[in-house]
Amino acid sequence: MLEIKNLHAQVAGKEILKGVDLKVNAGEVHAIMGPNGSGKSTLAQVLAGRDVYEVTEGEVFYQGKDLLAMAPEDRAREGIFLAFQYPMEIPGVSNMYFLKAALNNIRKAQGQPELDAMDFLALVREKMKLLGIDEALMNRAVNEGFSGGEKKRNEIFQMAVLEPKLAILDETDSGLDIDALRVVADGVNALRNPARAIIVVTHYQRLLNYIVPDFVHVLYDGRLVKSGDKNLALELEEKGYGWLEVQPQTV
């Protein structure tokens, strides 16, 4: 589904990604872990099409297409979803309106009929139950005045409604207490299926107790330096990221 080859990216002349290689197949859950500043968020944002990052080298193929040539909205319409580390507040635009516009733009691009207000409401209610989201929240402006936890939950709720093919979760667990973490993880797990791939970017191993990954990769100084199964996350938790510095690069 996704193939990243020798990806280099920089921001304001500073190289952040220094040659990332990664292959993700449908049905797989990959966790990307790494210390602060290793380039985790940059990778997530580059995949979603954020233009402040300049790709200087490498290629990314998504379903056989050149992902880097696509506008952010086209990536979303092709089924890529980024759950933001810091979701934006959009004053004056209700959550309901925003999500309906997003869903119908994606449906239209995928040749599906657009949902009318009634069908949309039915869909949204079902997903709200899944994420324990209050209906009042739908009529509020997107993320405006939401707590950190509400924002993260709202991201996963959007993901549940938009049903992407490839979901990238950027530190969705940061700032969540254990109850909120469980809700978010349950929401993600409910979306796991053989047709969908999920990339979980996280600083902490804790999330991976709830969303159990098929693969764990360690991003360090702009490169994936180690890959393994879920046990790698536990090893990291125990030894800390400092342990990587003395390890030979194995990827």
């Binding site: 909205e73 959009i90 925003f98």
Partner: protein
């Protein structure tokens, strides 16, 4: 023709037209004829303002002063073809076509007891002279405002609204001033007087509209008297044609513990100047001045507001937003005066501007004169572009770039419109704005 000579001829025309009006309005009461005469003298003294005057520094009315405008004749009043945009479910509707009341387009039936809605011309002929003499042309200051003086000199028709003590009007009153065009270079001087009694409550929407592609001039003055503990919401929607000159003053006078909410939405005209002022003349009065201007092309829009805190414990909230595209230009000048006795004044002012093009210009300035010492006055202004992070967030959800820009711009504007209490006015403004922004952005996808 040299410009000076043109301007001279244009000014002379106002005097000639005034003399003609004097003959035609010989049935007007003496007190008004005197007021009009002295206002004309005031205009003669002041002349049109120039950019050398601080209050007109960024708004050049020289093009207006050079054009010879004749009084719009009332023939347009007979035209039925023109269908103005009407607000549904109103308590009353007053329609003026080219300055003159049009009874056929108006709807005055079934007003509650204690509510008077009338054409000013009719009231001056046969109405309660006490209200008129006591209030008409008593508040809008013409000492340094030539256009207000000119309007007063040409008072002939307009809207009169009187709400008696304790009367609460549930539905809005809609006053519409329509220009029909057809005759080039005409002027109207619409006058509105709203007087509310003690503990009365009312909402008035005032619309100004006209045809595109024609040069005309609308010079409006509205005076609003808010009685003790009364509440008035005034919404002004300016949608004049793209070649029009629009100059207008709203002057409120607030009694003790009264509430006045003004919303000025300025979308049309080649040149629009709005003066919106309130004097909080009684303790504990509250005033809200909100505004939205959205211009493009070579349009120019100017809001000068003046909040006069004359008594203690008054609070004012001012919230203006502007969206400027193309080579348009805007001015926001917000004066807050806190008089010596106005202790415990609480005033907050904010002006935010969104510049959608490199060439659009905004001049924004707070003007605080604080003579009391125990007060809170804050002000802030911002000028910026659409937030790139917010744009990316929308695009990352499948919403295209043009649509995302459209959505954010609309949201920026809706923040002002959402503050209007009366739903029908709010909905109409939202729809107008949507149409205008859609024309600008052409959102290609589903919104």
């Amino acid at each position: 023709m040299p410009e000076v000579k043109q301007a001279h001829e244009a000014t002379e025309t106002y005097f000639a037209e005034f003399a003609r009006l004097e003959r035609e309005t010989s049935r007007q009461p003496e007190w008004l004829r005197l007021k009009r005469k002295s206002a004309m003298e005031r205009f003669a003294d002041l002349g049109f303002p120039t950019t050398r005057q601080e209050a007109w520094r960024f708004t050049n009315v020289a093009p207006l002063a050079r054009i010879t405008f004749k009084q719009a004749d009332a023939k347009g009043a007979a035209r039925e073809a023109f269908k103005p945009a009407l607000l549904g479910d109103v308590a009353a509707r007053l329609v003026f076509v080219d300055g003159q009341w049009n009874p056929k387009l108006s709807a005055l039936a079934s007003l509650p007891k204690g509510v008077l809605v009338s054409s000013l011309a009719a009231a001056l002929e046969s109405g309660d002279q006490g209200i008129l003499e006591g209030h008409l042309a008593c508040y809008a200051e013409d000492a340094d405002h030539a256009f207000t003086a000119l309007n007063t000199a040409f008072i002939r028709d307009g809207a009169l609204i009187r709400i008696a003590d304790g009367v609460v009007l549930e539905k809005p009153i809609h006053v519409i001033f329509i220009r029909t065009g057809g005759a080039q270079n005409t002027v109207t001087h619409p006058r509105t007087l709203i007087v509310t009694g003690r503990e009365a409550q009312a909402m008035v929407m005032e619309s100004h509209c006209g045809p595109a592609g024609e040069t005309y001039f609308t010079n409006a003055v509205t005076e609003i008297v808010v009685g003790e503990n009364a509440s008035v919401e005034h919404v002004k929607l300016q949608e004049e044609g793209d070649q029009a000159f629009y100059i207008a003053t709203v002057q409120a006078q607030q009694a003790r513990a009264s509430r006045f909410h003004s919303h000025s939405v300025s979308l049309g005209a080649a040149l629009a100047r709005n003066d919106i002022n309130s004097v909080m003349a009684g303790e504990g009065a509250e005033c809200t001045l909100n505004g939205l201007y959205q211009v493009a092309g070579t349009q120019h829009v100017d809001h000068h507001t003046r909040l006069d805190h004359a008594m203690p414990h008054c609070s004012s909230r001012e919230y203006y937003r502007g969206i400027l595209d193309g080579k348009s230009s805007g001015v926001f000048n917000g004066a807050i005066i806190v008089r010596k006795d106005a202790q415990k004044t609480d005033a907050i002012q904010s002006n935010k501007n969104l510049l959608l093009s490199e060439e659009a210009i905004i001049n924004t300035k707070p003007e605080l004169q604080i003579l009391a010492d125990d007060v809170r006055c804050t002000h802030g202004a911002t000028i910026g572009q659409l937030d790139p992070d917010a744009l990316f967030y929308l695009r990352a959800r499948g919403i295209g770039l043009e649509s995302a820009r459209h959505l954010l711009t609309r949201a920026f504007a809706n923040d002002v419109i959402a503050r209007i209490h009366f739903a029908p006015a709010r909905e109409r403004l939202e729809a107008r704005l949507l149409a205008r922004l859609s024309a600008a952005w052409k959102p290609e996808e589903v919104l």
